[in-house]
Symmetry: C2
Amino acid sequence: MAVIYEKVALIGLGLIASSLAWGMKRGGLAGEITGYARSAETRDIAREIDMCTVCDSACEAVQDADLVILCVPVGAMDSVMAEIAPSLRPGATLSDVGSVKRAVISAVSPHVPDGVHFIPAHPLAGTEHSGPRSGFAELFDNRWCIIVPPEGADRQKVEELASFWRALGSNVDEMDADHHDLVLAVTSHTPHLIAYTMVGVADDLGRVTDSEIIKYSAAGFRDFTRIAASDPTMWRDVFLTNKDATLEILGRFTEELFALQRAIRRGDGEHLHDYFTHTRAIRRGIIEAGQDTAAPNFGRTTGGKT
Amino acid sequence: MAVIYEKVALIGLGLIASSLAWGMKRGGLAGEITGYARSAETRDIAREIDMCTVCDSACEAVQDADLVILCVPVGAMDSVMAEIAPSLRPGATLSDVGSVKRAVISAVSPHVPDGVHFIPAHPLAGTEHSGPRSGFAELFDNRWCIIVPPEGADRQKVEELASFWRALGSNVDEMDADHHDLVLAVTSHTPHLIAYTMVGVADDLGRVTDSEIIKYSAAGFRDFTRIAASDPTMWRDVFLTNKDATLEILGRFTEELFALQRAIRRGDGEHLHDYFTHTRAIRRGIIEAGQDTAAPNFGRTTGGKT
């Protein structure tokens, strides 16, 4: 593979930035990678693992960069942009990896200097772990990256960014910001909120101890705990900034849950059986699309006594 | 290991029965294993994979058995018992693997002949797959089996059954039926209902296509689809027979969900952040207890393009 951007700057050095750095190195996609994180501890870890050239200010990191990727929580985009805007090189591409797009566009756009190409993006990839040590080059392989080009975006710059994501292993789609935020409310934000809620409820029951919850979690509950262990700051910002779409999907969810609850109360087995039969098809589609494993229990390897 | 029961009969030949058969063979725990399923197709598959001696009637299968395990959906226990009761050997142990215990006891107890020891049990193990082909010997390794001995149960028979489950790889606990049903409502039944609901909602949205749901599922949603692909008949019966505990936990869940929903609507980031921080601890506990893997994304192996 060939270098796509001579210099790439990563602002924020968590799971996604770290995976980007290793992925760029795997593919030889960048001549130079610089990075900055607000926390000195995070910068030290990034230096220790030799993730990229870690700078002591965001402005220094973005100096002369051909591609700047904002990898901070959505709520931090505005202040980061206020800081780095004067240091961005004319002609540079500015992108991000935020989980919501309308709010990122609102926060970032007012700061973008003339001649800088702002092209928001969102790689649908991650794990429940956080921080620079949790990144790995394969994170984006066969996952989707959604690019959200603004009206009148330079198509050549958009194509360049798309080819960058493809070279990282991703598939690339384009979408407008509102549709992105709705799709993600369904496939990501609401599921996370529900998982957090279920885990919170279990943890808070007087009559069932935490030790019981933990011991007997393999009966289904443990599946929820993975995404409910995700980064709290990132997820707080997601819900605060994708409020409308999340509340809409939550409303639909509650409506359906009440219908099933009523079926249970009334002993309507046919309604339950029909509903539960229907949901199997989606799982098959996901496996056929290569977005999950067909192995039972996600292929977990915790069965053995060893 | 040594033979614990000379003859074991499995009534119902699905995932759990099949895993029991392979687990007994692995450990040499039974002199002879017989089995029966209502469906001729299931019996044929069980014969084809050489799972056990498959009989053409339930009565034939239980004849002279030292241990009979009911492995049918909870709603079928009553009619199965009416059929086999006259054929049970005095002194035999009768058990089951049902996911609810109070309802199984109500359905089975009236049929149990004098001299037969009914000791309900529930192995907290399974996968999203069903049928005899989905079983495997390791399913119970390091999982918990909850034994629910009735008042005045023969302690020697209870210990014998516990040693059988331990020899299958399980840890064993004892609990009363009502507490079991409440614990499982939290760790299994409510999570399943919620997962079914979330998958149903996603499938039913006009403005987001199924193809989008599938492509972008790796952002969290796919975790829900695994348990929402579980056997519909088994789960219908669980909800119909553990109605009270499930509705109680659902009530708590809805209450918490509404509180988080209000925090989102009001922009109360502190409430959200506190809640999301709290739930990380439970995940750590589950991993430390050996009930889930610490590997990111459950150690799924679907990342690569291959």
